[in-house]
């Protein structure tokens, strides 16, 4: 899988969560080259083999028929019709040649259309995986932002929904933990100010509460909607 690029800044309204949807572009259709090209290659090679084998059969049958006609025209009946037989033979040969060209053209067309179609089709699988990978990278950094839905037509909707639910649950739990720690911080600050703590123990508590405050500030930033 290709390395996921960082998600560009959101375009839509941050408060509402989902940002403006990305549209499909030809330039980024090959998101997961290994996965997509493997499938494309398998199907294309297979189709090429079928078309090649059957095309050869067709050509052979046609060439056999032409050869049969050419042989029958070598008999004495056509001895005095050299021009006629030459013309017929020429037509038969050009017909066979045209058949080969037609089949090669059809084969190339098939491979091109099939490859494009398969790239588009596999993109609908690679797209969600790419998107989830980017969210995974954010999670690795502790950033739990809002997960936007997939584009219309994407596959792996069930998997993505499962991921989204997990992501939202972790995010909600992290927010709840932040809130709990925030309340504890405020309460202990009050306690610190009200009680007559002195000396080293007081400084240690102050340092610990400052550290917790900094930690919560960072965490809140990472839990922001965007």
């Amino acid at each position: 899988m290709t390395d996921p690029a960082p998600i560009p800044p959101a375009v839509g309204n941050a408060a509402t969560g989902p940002r403006a949807r990305y549209k499909r572009k030809l330039s980024n259709y090959l998101l997961d080259k290994r996965l997509q090209l493997r499938y494309v290659l398998v199907v294309t090679i297979l189709s090429g083999l079928i078309a090649g084998a059957l095309g050869y059969l067709i050509y052979k049958q046609s060439a056999d028929a032409s050869a049969s006609i050419e042989n029958s025209m070598k008999s004495d009946i056509f001895a005095n019709m050299q021009d006629f037989t030459d013309k017929i033979n020429s037509n038969l040969q050009s017909g066979d040649q045209m058949l080969v060209y037609k089949m090669i053209g059809a084969g190339i067309g098939l491979v091109i259309i099939l490859s494009l179609y398969l790239v588009i089709m596999t993109h609908k699988v690679a797209g969600p995986l790419f998107k989830v990978s980017m969210y995974f990278d954010r999670m690795a950094d502790g950033r739990l932002t809002v997960v936007t839905p997939l584009r219309k037509g994407d596959m792996l909707q069930d998997f993505y929904q499962s991921f989204q639910e997990t992501h939202d649950a972790i995010r909600a739990r992290a927010k709840a933990d932040v809130e709990t720690m925030d309340k504890a911080l405020v309460a202990l600050r009050d306690q610190q100010n009200q009680a007559d703590y002195r000396g080293e123990q007081r400084q240690k508590l102050v340092d610990a509460l400052d550290g917790l405050e900094q930690h919560l500030t960072d965490r809140k930033k990472k839990l922001a909607d965007r």
Binding site: M1, R34, S68, V132, D158, A184, A187, L205, A208
Partner: protein
């Protein structure tokens, strides 16, 4: 999930029972492949059969137009070897059949035939029955010269060299026509059967291959899905490696990094909370309600990492 975790890798083996993990994804891709191949086979197969039929018809016409010229049996004489001999027109051959008696000419004698009466004859020639003296016939043997028959001259036409081979060739040619036609029909049927058989093999083979191939993608997704379900419930177990041959290895690495990031978040929270708890306890505020809440939080987070 069972088994020992050797070096972060649990050796689940693939089994036929759970090949279809993600039916929608797997069947969609497999059916597309199978459907496409079937269409190709059917379309091109139809084309093949059409051309094969044309070629067979041409070959048949060519064979039916084959001239099996009869060889001339004798020099300067054309013989139709195919003509059946007409036995009715053959000259009648006089022959004496067994049991058939040739007509016996009447013996020379009286007109009334008295001389031919039956009866015993004495040695002296008298008729013993009637007592009448019998007439005597004197036979005079005379040497006759039978002229020798003239030698019969049989005219045998001169046979050409290689006539036998030509006759054999002619009959082979004649008999070869229906045989060749049968051969052509058999060949056409063979093409059709081969097309059908290869089409069926292709469809079944592709179906199995497609499911196995997509299973290597669906497998990692299924595994990630299981871990996601655990994470949703607040459990952050150890993440094991994929099986050999699985695809989406990079995607799985992203997941492992994300899992590790979430675990780190929990550990950071625990460290910060523990530091505050320790400082509060040292300062004499260990019994504060806020500290108790922090202890609960730490306990829950530590349990989630077990």
């Amino acid at each position: 999930m069972t088994g020992q975790p050797p070096q972060g890798n649990r050796g689940y083996k693939r089994s036929w029972k759970n090949l279809l993990i993600n039916k929608r994804y797997q069947l969609r891709f497999t059916l597309f492949m199978v459907g496409l191949s079937t269409l190709l086979m059917a379309g091109l197969g139809f084309w093949v059969m059409r051309v094969a039929n044309d070629a067979t018809e041409v070959a048949k016409a060519d064979i039916l137009g084959t001239q099996c010229d009869p060889p001339s049996a004798f020099e300067g004489q054309e013989t139709d070897l195919d003509e059946e001999p007409d036995l009715d027109e053959a000259p009648a051959v006089p022959m004496k059949l067994e049991g058939e008696k040739a007509p016996v000419p009447p013996p020379p004698g009286d007109a009334d035939g008295s001389a031919g009466d039956e009866g015993d004859v004495d040695e002296d020639g008298s008729d013993a029955g009637s007592g009448k003296p019998r007439r005597k016939i004197d036979v005079i043997l005379d040497d006759m010269e039978v002229p020798a028959p003239a030698p019969i001259e049989i005219k045998v036409p001169k046979v050409r060299d290689g006539l036998k081979a030509e006759i054999i060739d002619h009959h082979i040619c004649r008999m070869g026509i229906p045989a060749s036609l049968d051969k052509l029909e058999t060949r056409r049927l063979q093409i059709l059967l081969v097309l059908i058989a290869s089409g069926l093999v292709l469809v079944f083979g592709l179906a199995v291959y497609g499911i196995k191939m997509t299973h290597k993608v669906a497998g990692p997704l299924f595994k990630v899905g299981l871990y996601l379900a655990k994470m949703r419930d607040g459990r952050f177990d150890k993440v094991y490696n994929l099986r050999k041959g699985d695809q989406l290895v990079d995607f799985y690495e992203h997941f492992k990094v994300a899992h590790a990031g979430v675990v780190k978040m929990q550990k950071d929270d625990i460290d910060r909370a523990k530091a505050v708890i320790a400082a509060a306890e040292a300062a004499g505020a260990g019994e504060h309600a806020a500290v108790a809440e922090l202890r609960t939080l730490v306990a829950r987070k530590e349990k989630s990492l077990d």
